[in-house]
């Protein structure tokens, strides 16, 4: 550890009358210290010392069932995926050291984009270095000053940041409220550019957007539609194309944004589209141009994984079973859940407050189960949530074990 880190807090002496720019974080520092002072294990500094499989790891010295990763389809240890990565590492080296538009586009990047085009049946695919950058880049580039963005209030941070960066007029509507969306679209000045941004699955509560109705209304008002399918790719829809496929609106959405860091099992982001002018994005989209491209091994694992996901219907069926079993089991135990019925691979358990949520998280981790603790401002309505995200590789007996760990922890903390 460096000396700088191991030094305890000392008064910072500053010449002149400048204020500490870090003082704006004092509230959150105090909140965190208060929580940890009670002896609570820190939910935000977990280290996985060893990863045994898509569903198990050694965390803080304990063997743990993973129920808080986005490894929905369990592709991270797929032998074909691993082999493709190794081969690319050997053949193309460890990194590209350059931008996609200069020296950073290798054969593998093109093959990855080919795989995406086939997966979605779309004309164009553009691979970004992360999913965050895909949203940031596409949104900020296509919706600029004078244009209007109409979006769900519970949109992901990368969507909000893309909106802010593009300087468009930003008009949010109440979560999943079809009427509220329609009213706002109707009021936009005539002739203005309009972009409606929706997500297939909202990651905090694991609920699905009414895309059929919403996309129809957006189209009726002449808006372009962008759907973020980060949490549904590979799992929802007959071919795993997401909620757009399930809702039957594939042909009506203009852009689908997605990520490789969930079902695909590596890292990276993408946008697919049928827009005839889409390829110009490669020259005008700054978060695409001004960053290094993904390493060859990453795009090779992504391409292999995407092609395997096309034929993943058995895994999809098993994941739905897992989701239904866990949802029903938790409900029967008396936990409050984010959705009445399971709608995705995410099941959110609503905690009474942050303290009890943190205590519950700790009881679970000590019982050998990792879930995500989610708290404001990431959560809707200032809720504290324990978010469970299931994997197609969780066995039936693992799901049963998960439920018994939840039961013991819930009783210990006094939530059920």
């Amino acid at each position: 550890m460096s000396r700088g880190i191991s030094q305890s807090d000392q008064p910072i002496e500053r010449s002149g009358d400048g204020t500490d720019l870090f003082s704006k974080f004092d509230d959150i520092i105090a909140l965190r210290e208060g929580l940890l002072a009670s002896g609570q294990e820190d939910p935000f500094s977990l280290v996985m010392e060893k990863v045994l499989s898509p569903t198990r790891a050694i965390c803080n010295g304990r063997e743990t069932i993973l129920l808080g990763t986005y490894n929905y389809m369990g592709m991270t240890f797929d032998p074909d995926v691993i082999e493709a990565g190794k081969q690319a590492l050997t053949d193309f080296g460890s990194g590209t050291t350059g931008s996609r538009v200069l020296n950073g586009t290798y054969q593998g990047h093109k093959e990855c984009e080919d795989a995406l085009r086939e997966f979605y049946g779309m004309d164009h695919a553009m691979v970004f270095s992360t999913g965050y950058q895909a949203n940031l880049g596409i949104i900020s580039t296509i919706a600029g000053k004078g244009d209007y963005i109409i979006l769900d209030i519970d949109s992901h941070a990368s969507i909000w940041d893309g909106c802010a960066m593009g300087n468009a007029e930003v008009v949010p509507f109440k979560h999943n409220d079809i009427e509220a969306m329609g009213k706002r679209l109707k009021r936009i000045p005539e002739g203005a550019g309009k972009l409606v941004i929706l997500e297939g699955v909202y990651s905090m509560l694991g609920d699905v957007a009414p895309l059929k109705e919403m996309v129809a209304i957006a189209k009726r008002h002449g808006a372009m539609v962008l759907v973020d399918e980060a949490h549904s790719m590979g799992f929802i829809g007959e071919n795993g194309r997401g909620v757009v496929e399930q809702a039957g609106v594939m042909d009506d959405v203009d852009f689908i944004i997605g990520t490789f860091s969930k079902s695909v099992g590596t890292v990276g982001g993408f946008c697919v589209s049928n827009h005839p002018k889409f390829e110009i994005m490669r020259l005008v989209c700054r978060p695409y141009v001004f960053t290094a491209s993904l390493p060859p091994s990453v795009v090779a694992t992504a391409a292999t994984s995407i092609r395997k996901l096309m034929h993943g219907s058995n895994k999809r069926a098993h994941l739905w079973e897992n989701s239904k079993t866990l949802h029903k089991g938790l409900k029967d135990l008396g936990f409050a859940l984010g959705t009445d019925e399971p709608q995705s691979a995410i099941i959110a358990v609503i905690m009474p407050d942050l303290e009890q949520g943190a205590a519950m998280w700790e009881a679970l981790i000590k019982g050998g189960l990792y879930v995500n603790l989610a708290r404001p401002p990431a959560t809707p309505a200032n809720m504290t949530l324990l978010r469970c995200s299931l994997c197609a590789e969780h066995s039936e007996s693992e799901v049963a074990q998960i439920l018994s760990i939840f039961e013991a922890a819930g009783k210990q903390v006094g939530i059920i």
Partner: protein, 80 residues
């Protein structure tokens, strides 16, 4: 609708959100005096938008800190 009428209407809409019954003047701030969090702001703005059939984008909201500024903005928007 003139400013006085807009003021009266917004006052009526604000009432259910003004949980502590803070006296609202032109200089009353939403964040500090009324302690509106982001969700309350969204609901309150939605009510105003529906009432006056206008859009108050987040960009415009960012310029509005006080009650008086809100009444000014809505008066202007609904007249346009």
């Amino acid at each position: 609708m003139d400013r006085t009428a807009v003021d009266a209407k917004i006052r009526e809409l604000a009432e259910p959100f003004n949980k502590k019954g803070v006296e609202i003047t032109e200089g009353t701030t939403f964040a500090n005096d009324l302690e509106f969090d982001s969700l309350t702001v969204m609901d309150f703005v939605a009510e105003i938008e529906d009432e006056f059939d206008i859009i108050i984008s987040m960009n415009q909201q960012a310029e509005i800190e006080t009650y008086g500024q809100l009444v000014d903005a809505v008066t202007k928007l609904q007249a346009a």
